[in-house]
């Protein structure tokens, strides 16, 4: 099972849209996907029309007393399941802290999922916290949407530094440009400059598009209601980039 996380310390950069659309595209390609909505805001759950409620809350979840399987809901799409958000996730840090090795907890918890899923995708809340660290410890790959500006450089540097300092050597960081507005000179400039500084930056970028905002109205992955749009094509391209990283052999 490959474990991905859509992450950025900043909010509003397209984490959830990324998680939802990548999860959907992966499921269409035959991967058995579980999307775990870790953000107490519950946007990913909302896009999939699933109630942001988990029986027993985050306490029950982390204690291991509840089988994760009982809490998972099937989305309307084949091969795509969702572990919904719960407002109690806002306390997740406190609960993790109660354990001896807080960051290892999550990794332990998700192990049994490997039997049923090929891909686990976390939609992370915008923060840097014990919960984020737990995700870093569990994940293989971090998908980091960044808006092509100066501040993103700071974010990426911070992230790189954090990774090496905390020893998450296994973790691969894959940034990509999101909410790109080609009318803006600054964006165009950074689209050229960023890859030079960050060679790991994925070639595909996601344009700013009203269709993506429409996801909140349609409550569907982009591919389903606007498959021909530029944004949908961009996500497909992004998924191809990601897929090459997780399945170099070409798999499915």
């Amino acid at each position: 099972m490959k474990i991905l996380a859509s992450y950025n310390i900043k909010g509003g950069v397209g984490k959830t849209a990324t998680a939802v659309n990548i999860a959907y595209l992966a499921s269409r390609d035959g991967y058995r996907v579980l999307l775990w909505d870790l953000d107490p805001q519950g946007a990913a759950s909302f896009y999939f029309r699933i109630k942001p409620k988990v029986k027993g809350g985050s306490k029950g979840l982390l204690s291991g007393k509840r089988e994760l399987d009982e809490l998972i809901k099937g989305s309307d799409f084949p091969n795509l399941d969702v572990l919904p958000a719960d407002f109690s996730y806002r306390h997740i840090d406190l609960l993790l802290d109660e354990h001896k090795k807080p960051t290892k907890q999550l990794r332990k918890l998700i192990k049994p999922l490997a039997a049923d899923y090929d891909l686990l995708l976390f939609d992370c809340p915008p923060s840097i916290s014990l919960a984020s660290e737990a995700v870093f410890a569990a994940a293989d790959l971090l998908l980091v949407p960044v808006i092509p500006t100066h501040l993103s450089q700071r974010t990426l540097d911070q992230l790189r530094e954090f990774r090496s300092r905390e020893g998450f050597d296994r973790l691969e960081i894959l940034p990509f440009c999101s909410l790109v507005d080609r009318r803006k000179g600054l964006h165009r400039q950074f689209l050229v400059d960023l890859p030079q500084q960050y060679p790991e930056l994925l070639p595909s970028h996601i344009p700013y598009a009203s269709e993506v905002e429409q996801m909140g109205v349609q409550r569907l992955p982009l591919q389903v209601f606007a498959g021909h749009s530029r944004a949908a094509e961009a996500f497909r391209s992004l998924w191809r980039d990601v897929r090459r990283r997780i399945d170099p052999g070409g798999g499915r």
């Binding site: 699933i50 809490l71 399941d81 409550r219």
Partner: protein, 440 residues
């Protein structure tokens, strides 16, 4: 064969079950399907429903049978309540009832087919006190049905197992007639023994060819890689023969003699005329007749086997093989009379010996056949000497295998004739005692 299916996971999973049997289409079904989603307040699908209705192509007159419309409920993971609620509401609704069977079972039932209809073994439930004549007629009738079920498949050579099952039914019939004497009127028994012997004869050559062709890859595998291609002229010969044999048999199975045999046998078995006086054992309880016969054959098998020394000729083993086969058929016919585990254990012990004897017999036949093929091919122009050498090598391999088989006989028979088997035999027969006898 599973080769009838396109490559993929379905074929992979079926191949070990299907083996060399052909897959035959059973029914043509036309279905219309409506898929419905039940959604909640968030317009999330919480249950999927599928409505299916249709028809299956029926008999020869082109009629269709209507299928019962069905509603399938498919749960969505994590949404159990909607599934349960829907099930409860449907159960309470007058127009719906839980399906007792699935659509495949319904289709087969409408067409009067059973999934295991091509089985070779007769399964008869007998009562120990049943008159032997009646019991035997039941068995023979089932064997006749099996034969007829396999007739078309044999004629059309759909796969080799149809002919095989056909021949086994014929063999069992002959065995029943010959082994259980004094139950049917002798003229009837003699007449049909002759007819079934004829059937055995006309089906033999094709079966031998089927077996040889099925075994051809194994023959090649016996030889060193360099020689394998040299054997191909043999395959050509066999295939030519097979085509001819199929043609001939196919004609005979629609011919007058076969049709008459089947009609008359069927008629007699359904309405037996026992004659006056009655055959001596016709009214005896079948358990008594069967047990006596089984005991006698078992003793004969023990005696014949014990008389076999390492220097005994091959015929001695062939005779023992025939005795074992007769015993096995009897045990199978009358299995329902011997409840408990002993019967199965006895059959298992017998099978152990039969495997060895069977292999010995097969190899003896194969040796003879290869000698025959060699002579034939040697007389044909254009056959390379390499082919004849390959055949010689093949024959040598068979000789060696047969020698090994012969060596194992002693131990195999020892296991069969030991105290354990004799105890199983006694226990089996005891379990089959007819009630009146038990009271004596």
């Amino acid at each position: 064969m599973s080769a009838d299916l396109a490559a993929g996971s379905l074929r992979e999973r079926l191949a070990p079950l299907v083996g060399i049997r052909a897959l035959l289409p059973q029914a043509e079904v036309e279905l219309q399907r409506w898929t419905l989603s039940l959604t909640d307040g968030r317009e999330k699908t919480v249950l999927r429903l599928r409505w299916e209705e249709g028809r299956v192509a029926g008999g020869l007159d082109g009629a269709w049978f209507q299928l019962t419309p069905r509603l399938y409920l498919s749960p969505v993971k994590g949404y159990r309540k909607p599934l349960l609620q829907a099930a409860v509401r449907l159960a309470a609704h007058d127009d719906f009832q839980p399906a007792g069977d699935d659509v495949l079972e319904e289709v087969l039932q409408l067409l009067g087919r059973r999934p295991d209809a091509c089985s070779g073994k007769p399964e008869v439930s007998l009562r120990p006190e049943q008159p032997a004549g009646e019991a035997l007629c039941t068995i023979l009738l089932q064997l006749l049905e099996i034969m007829e079920l396999n007739r078309e498949g044999t004629r059309e050579a759909i796969d080799s197992e149809f002919l095989h099952d056909f021949r086994v039914a014929v063999r069992r019939t002959r065995s029943a007639l010959a082994q259980v004497k004094g139950v049917l009127p002798e003229p009837v028994s003699a007449r049909f023994r002759k007819e079934f012997a004829w059937l055995g004869e006309i089906t033999g050559p094709l079966r031998d060819l089927d077996v040889a062709l099925l075994a051809f890859p194994d023959y090649q595998a016996c030889l060193p890689a360099a020689q394998r291609e040299d054997l191909l002229p043999l395959r050509d010969l066999l295939e030519t023969r097979q085509r001819e044999a199929r043609r001939l048999l196919s004609r005979r199975l629609v011919g007058k003699r076969y049709r008459q045999l089947v009609e008359e046998w069927h008629r007699w078995l359904r309405n037996p005329e026992w004659g006056d006086p009655l055959p001596p054992k016709a009214m005896r309880p079948i358990a008594e007749v069967a047990s006596k016969r089984i005991a006698k054959l078992a003793q004969r098998a023990f005696a014949e086997g014990e008389a076999i020394a390492p220097t005994s000729p091959a015929e001695a083993l062939h005779e023992l093989r025939k005795t074992c086969k007769k015993l096995r058929y009897l045990l199978e016919f009358f299995a329902s009379l011997y409840p408990g585990t002993h019967h199965g254990k006895l059959v298992k012990a017998l099978k152990g010996l039969q495997d060895n004897l069977g292999t010995f017999q097969d190899l003896s036949v194969q040796i003879e056949e290869v000698e025959g093929y060699r002579r034939e091919l040697a007389a044909q122009p254009g056959i390379p000497p390499a082919t004849l050498r390959a055949l010689d090598n093949l024959e040598a391999q068979f000789f060696e295998r047969r020698r090994q088989c012969r060596e194992e006989f002693g131990a195999r028979f020892g296991r069969f004739a030991g105290k354990g088997t004799r105890r199983q035999l006694a226990a089996t027969l005891a379990a089959g005692t007819a009630p009146e006898e038990a009271d004596r």
